[in-house]
C-alpha cells in the first residue's frame, strides 16, 4: 500500500514539475508593439511614437531604439519625430530585454507634400481693350522646392505658360484669370483672380 502511494506521488510530482516547466523550455524574445499618432498628414508632420505597449513575458525591456526611416533615430519608450518632407516612411522599433534578446516591428507613416502657393498680381484698376497686361507669378512659392511650371488660363479661352506672361483682351468684361503651378515634386495648386477690362462686349457675345 505504501508503495502505491509512493508511486502515485511520483507520477503527480513528475506531471506537475513537467507541466510547470514547460513555459521555461522555450526562450521568449520580447515583443515590440507601438502606436503612431498620426499615421498620415502633411509635411511638416510631427508623429508621436509610443512603444510602451511592448512587453516581455519572461524578462524586462531595457532599451527602445527607434528608426524613423528618414535617417534619424531616437531612444526611449515614447518619442516624437517631425518629418519635414513628404514620402512614405517605415518606422521601426527594436526593443531589447535584460537578457540581450531583441525583437523589431515596423509601421508606416505617410507624409504628404504640402501644396505650392500660387500668386500673381493683377492690375489694380480696370484696363482697356487691347491694352497689354503683364501677369507676374514670381510671388508664387512652394515649400517643396522650385516651381517648375506656370500655367495660365485667361478666361477668354486662351492660355499660356511661363512665370511672366503678357495678355490683351479684345472686348471689355470681367475675366477670371487662373494660375496653376506645379512644383518639383509634382504638387499642383491654382488660384483665380478677376481682371476688369473696360470696353464694349464683342459682337458675338
Amino acid at each position: 500500500m505504501r508503495a502505491k502511494f509512493f508511486f502515485l506521488g511520483m507520477v503527480a510530482l513528475a506531471a506537475l514539475i513537467l507541466g510547470g516547466c514547460v513555459g521555461k523550455f522555450s526562450v521568449k524574445a520580447p515583443e515590440a508593439i507601438f502606436s503612431l499618432r498620426p499615421t498620415e498628414g502633411i509635411a511638416p508632420l510631427t508623429v508621436v511614437c509610443d512603444g510602451s505597449l511592448s512587453f516581455s513575458e519572461s524578462s524586462r525591456i531595457v532599451e527602445y531604439i527607434w528608426d524613423f526611416g528618414d535617417g534619424n533615430k531616437a531612444f526611449g519608450p515614447i518619442v516624437s519625430h517631425t518629418y519635414s518632407r513628404g514620402g512614405t516612411y517605415r518606422v521601426t522599433l527594436t526593443v531589447y530585454d535584460d537578457q540581450g534578446r531583441r525583437s523589431s516591428r515596423e509601421a508606416q507613416v505617410v507624409v504628404r507634400f504640402p501644396k505650392p502657393v500660387p500668386d500673381f498680381s493683377v492690375p489694380p484698376i480696370p484696363v482697356g481693350t487691347y491694352e497689354v497686361i503683364t501677369f507676374d507669378a514670381s510671388a508664387s512659392y512652394s515649400p517643396n522646392g522650385k516651381i517648375v511650371r506656370y500655367m495660365w488660363a485667361f478666361g477668354d479661352g486662351t492660355s499660356a505658360e511661363g512665370m511672366v506672361v503678357e495678355k490683351s483682351y479684345r472686348y471689355g468684361g470681367a475675366y477670371p484669370v487662373t494660375l496653376s503651378v506645379v512644383d518639383e515634386v509634382g504638387e499642383v495648386a491654382s488660384v483665380t483672380k478677376v481682371v476688369q477690362v473696360l470696353g464694349g462686349p464683342g459682337c458675338g457675345s
Binding site: 508503495a3 502505491k4 508511486f7 502515485l8 511520483m10 507520477v11 503527480a12 513528475a14 506531471a15 506537475l16 513537467l18 507541466g19 514547460v22 513555459g23 523550455f25 522555450s26 521568449k28 515583443e31 515590440a32 508593439i33 507601438f34 502606436s35 503612431l36 499618432r37 498620426p38 499615421t39 505597449l53 512587453f55 513575458e57 518606422v91 522599433l93 516591428r105 515596423e106 509601421a107
Partner: protein
C-alpha cells in the same frame, strides 16, 4: 585465353546466386534479423499474453509560443483600443491547456507494445465592440496523434513506464474581426483553418490500482514532444504575429490523466 574461376578462389563456400552478399556477410545479417525478431516477440513470450485496453481523459498542458505571442500582442491592441475608445473588451485568456482523451491497446507483460491515439482540443477568444466597431477574436486548436507505444511494467499491473512514437495532426481555426488601429500590430482579419502534421514522441509513467479482476484505475503523467514546423491554410502559411515569417507551432507539453485499464488474458 582462359578465364579464372574467381568466385571459387575468393570464398570458401560457393556464393548464393540469389544474394548480392557474400555468404559470411549473409550469416551476420540473418543473425541480426533473428535478434530483432526475438526482441519483438519477447513481450509475447509468456504463456498468457495479456491484452490491455486503456482509455481515459487527460488534461494536457502546453504553452504554444506562437499562439501565446499572438494572444499577448492582440491583448495589447485591445488595451490600446479600450483606452482610446473607452471600451471594456475583455482580454483574451492564454491557451494553456486542453482536455482530451487517450486510448491504447497493448500486448504483453511486463514488456508490452501496442498502438494508441490521443486527442485534445482547446480554444480561446474574446468579443465586444468599440462603438460601432466590432471586435471578435476566436482561436480553436485541435490535436490528434496515432502512435506506436512500448511500455515496461516493473511492478506488473501496478506501475508502467512507457514511450511512444507516432504521427500527429493539428488544426488551428482562426476567426478574427478587428478594426484598424494606428498600431504596429493588429491581428489580420479573416477566417481560416491552418493545418499541420509532424512526428510526435512521448514518455509516460502510470500508477494503477486494481479495482476489479482485470480492471484497474490509473493515474498517468507524461510529456509529449510535438513541434509542427509550419501550419498552412491552402498555400498560406500561418503567420499569427505578422512578422512575415511562418510561425512554427510547438505543442510539446505535459499531461496528467486518469486511465481505466481492462486486461484480457489471451
Amino acid at each position: 585465353m582462359k578465364r579464372k574461376p574467381k568466385a571459387a578462389k575468393a570464398f570458401p563456400h560457393p556464393p548464393d546466386v540469389f544474394s548480392p552478399l557474400p555468404s559470411g556477410e549473409r550469416v551476420r545479417v540473418r543473425g541480426k534479423w533473428t535478434v530483432l525478431i526475438l526482441l519483438l516477440l519477447l513481450p509475447f513470450s509468456t504463456w498468457a499474453i495479456p491484452l490491455g485496453v486503456e482509455s481515459g481523459p487527460h488534461f494536457f498542458r502546453t504553452y504554444p509560443p506562437a499562439i501565446s505571442a499572438f494572444i499577448q500582442l492582440t491583448n495589447q491592441a485591445i488595451l490600446y483600443g479600450n483606452s482610446t475608445f473607452f471600451g471594456d473588451i475583455p482580454l483574451i485568456p492564454l491557451m494553456s491547456g486542453g482536455l482530451g482523451v487517450r486510448v491504447a491497446e497493448t500486448l504483453g507483460e511486463p514488456f508490452a507494445m501496442g498502438l494508441g491515439f490521443s486527442l485534445f482540443a482547446m480554444e480561446t477568444g474574446t468579443s465586444g465592440s468599440w462603438g460601432a466597431q466590432e471586435v471578435a477574436v476566436n482561436l480553436g486548436l485541435s490535436y490528434a496523434d496515432l502512435h506506436l507505444l512500448l511500455s515496461f511494467s516493473p511492478l506488473p499491473g501496478l506501475l508502467f513506464l512507457g514511450a511512444s512514437l507516432g504521427f500527429a495532426w493539428t488544426n488551428l481555426s482562426y476567426d478574427v474581426e478587428f478594426p484598424s488601429l494606428p498600431l504596429s500590430f493588429v491581428p489580420e482579419n479573416g477566417q481560416r483553418t491552418f493545418s499541420g502534421r509532424t512526428f510526435v514522441a512521448a514518455a509516460f509513467l502510470r500508477a494503477a490500482w486494481p479495482i476489479l479482476p482485470n480492471l484497474s484505475l490509473g493515474l498517468e503523467g507524461g510529456f509529449r514532444f510535438a513541434l509542427f514546423s509550419g501550419l498552412f491554410s491552402g498555400d498560406i502559411p500561418m503567420d499569427l504575429n505578422r512578422d512575415g515569417a511562418p510561425d512554427p507551432l510547438d505543442l510539446s507539453g505535459a499531461w496528467l490523466g486518469i486511465t481505466l485499464r481492462v486486461e484480457f488474458p489471451l
